[in-house]
């Protein structure tokens, strides 16, 4: 589910803006740190999570307005390099410098397990799954049922025409970017009690998420949902059979095959191909 939340943000940004956004992982981590720090002051996980999402979204807004917006019409190499410099280089190292390389554990807000018949599953993880489904439903409805969703599709399809017809495309771009970042922030905050917080936290999730959005189909929200669930299942079941590293390698390998033979993914559109 965490993979899905990360991937859905990425796919929104890639699908609409066409930006290979490498800042995603660093912002994911940042949300983890904000959540952790807020918990130290307030003692409440949910306040921390909320703070994480709000602070990181605002930061995303700032980033978009100051730097990222200039990359939209450039060639993909430049966008990739710029976000690569901002994310894994500057932001990650600033966080490493400030918080140090160590791992901070975050207390589980809801300890205990749900027991259904013979199966028992940690309550908190169940809640994360529920939140994931809720977000999937919410974003799906937002994209397909509201005027904002329509504006996003219109801008994706033809920016100039959308602008002529009265859509403020600059605002749509900004809103989409911030929405994508907010999803990453939510994921970063939610994952902190499970994995603890460390500087490279977001990087690993981002790499998997990148492959997930390709397998699911670039820019397809539904596709990234299906592919995330698949990847998550393969990794968790694979981890019980072989080692987690082999399971992850397997997922990457499958992703490569898909990129090669079906670059549109499960639900992708063909026009993003070239």
């Amino acid at each position: 589910m965490i993979i899905f939340l990360t991937a859905s943000g990425l796919t929104l940004i890639f699908g609409l803006i066409g930006l290979i956004n490498f800042t995603h992982g660093a912002l994911f981590t940042m949300s983890g740190y904000v959540t952790m720090t807020t918990i130290q002051f307030t003692g409440n996980f949910w306040v921390g999570l909320l703070a994480g999402v709000i602070v990181v979204s605002l930061f995303g807004l700032l980033l978009e307005r100051s730097l990222i917006q200039w990359l939209y019409n450039e060639e993909p190499l430049l966008g990739f390099l710029a976000t690569f410099g901002i994310g894994p280089l500057i932001l990650r190292e600033v966080m490493r410098a400030y918080f140090g390389g160590q791992t901070y554990s975050v207390p589980n807000p809801i300890p205990g397990s749900l027991v259904v018949g013979p199966v028992s599953y940690p309550t908190y993880r169940t809640l994360v799954i529920v939140i994931g489904f809720a977000v999937a439903l919410g974003i799906g409805l937002l994209l397909s049922r509201t005027r904002f969703g329509l504006e996003i599709y219109a801008t994706t399809a033809d920016t100039d025409t959308a602008e002529i017809l009265g859509t403020d495309t600059t605002r749509v771009y900004t809103a989409t970017f911030v929405l994508g970042i907010a999803l990453a922030a939510l994921a970063g905050g939610l994952v902190s009690p499970i994995t603890a917080v460390y500087p490279d936290l977001g990087l690993g999730f981002m790499l998997i998420a990148f492959l997930v959005i390709i397998v699911g189909g670039m820019g397809s929200f539904k596709g990234s949902f299906v592919a995330s669930i698949l990847a998550g299942q393969i990794i968790s079941f694979g981890s019980t059979v072989v080692s987690p590293t082999y399971a992850t390698m397997g997922v990457f390998f499958i992703a490569m095959i898909v990129i090669l033979f079906r670059p549109t993914g499960f639900y992708g559109k063909t026009e993003v191909l070239e």
Partner: protein
Amino acid sequence: MNLGALSERLSASPRVQAIVALVVVIALVLPIVTSGFVTGLLIEAILLGLFAVAVNIALGYSGLITLAPAFFFGLGAYGLAISTVDYGVSFWVGFVVAVLLSLVFAIIVGFAPIRRGIGPAYFAMFTLAIGVIGYDFTYVTTSVTGGSNGKGYVVPPEILGLDFGEPVVYYYFVLLITIVVMAGIYRLLSSDYGMVLHAIRQSEHRMRYLGYGTRREKFNAWLISCVLSSFAGALYVGQLGLAAPSLMSFDLTGEVLIWVVIGGVGTIAGPFIAGFGLTLIEHYLGSIWTEGYLILIGILFVSFVFLLPEGIIGFLKERRE
């Protein structure tokens, strides 16, 4: 432009001639006046510079956004280390093994995506996956790669009374090879082939209509880039003594991208200068203030991407014109 034209150009400008002569003299004298440790550092810096040049052939000249340069660098490193340590072949045969291994992998990795002409974003993700798999592989297959301890120890042999394990000797060896390879790259890229690559990067469609096999040309550039990367990696092991997972890591990929961008995408000398210089700076500044250095480099990198996307050399060229 062939070598004759190059020397003609060199002799035409006394200033360029003086600079080249100065650099050569400094490069020759340095290991004599400094300690063995500094010599080792210089070897590393030269090889990382060469690595950046190799990566730039794919990234800058062919527009292939590769996120797997460290994969091939590491492949060369492991190819040499494993073949010499585990299979007992000689150091020189190890080079052949490393280069052939990377050639095979370059074909496996590059053939299908480049021939099918997948888009740049897809190529980036494809190579990213290869990089991650390679890095994970070095950790999990402890019996083959030595896991997180790395694979060692590789000691360059003694030939004709010259002990290549000695830093100074190895330095001259590396310097000589680097100069030969760089001259070769210069010649290749200033030939018609370089022009074709440049044109393909400008407009692949138009070149295809003009009858060029653009994908074949790109594929060839990809092979050259990968093989040279692994060659630099193998030489690097000769200095370092062992192949470790960090030589295949995403961090190294990131660093080499920085060097290429700061030095100048699509220039020959730029990435070398940036790779060489920043490795040295990183070593000295990094030992005083590690985090600060990385942040500064990050800020420098982003400013280059936004303000000077042509890099230092590209910027100087533009100003001169």
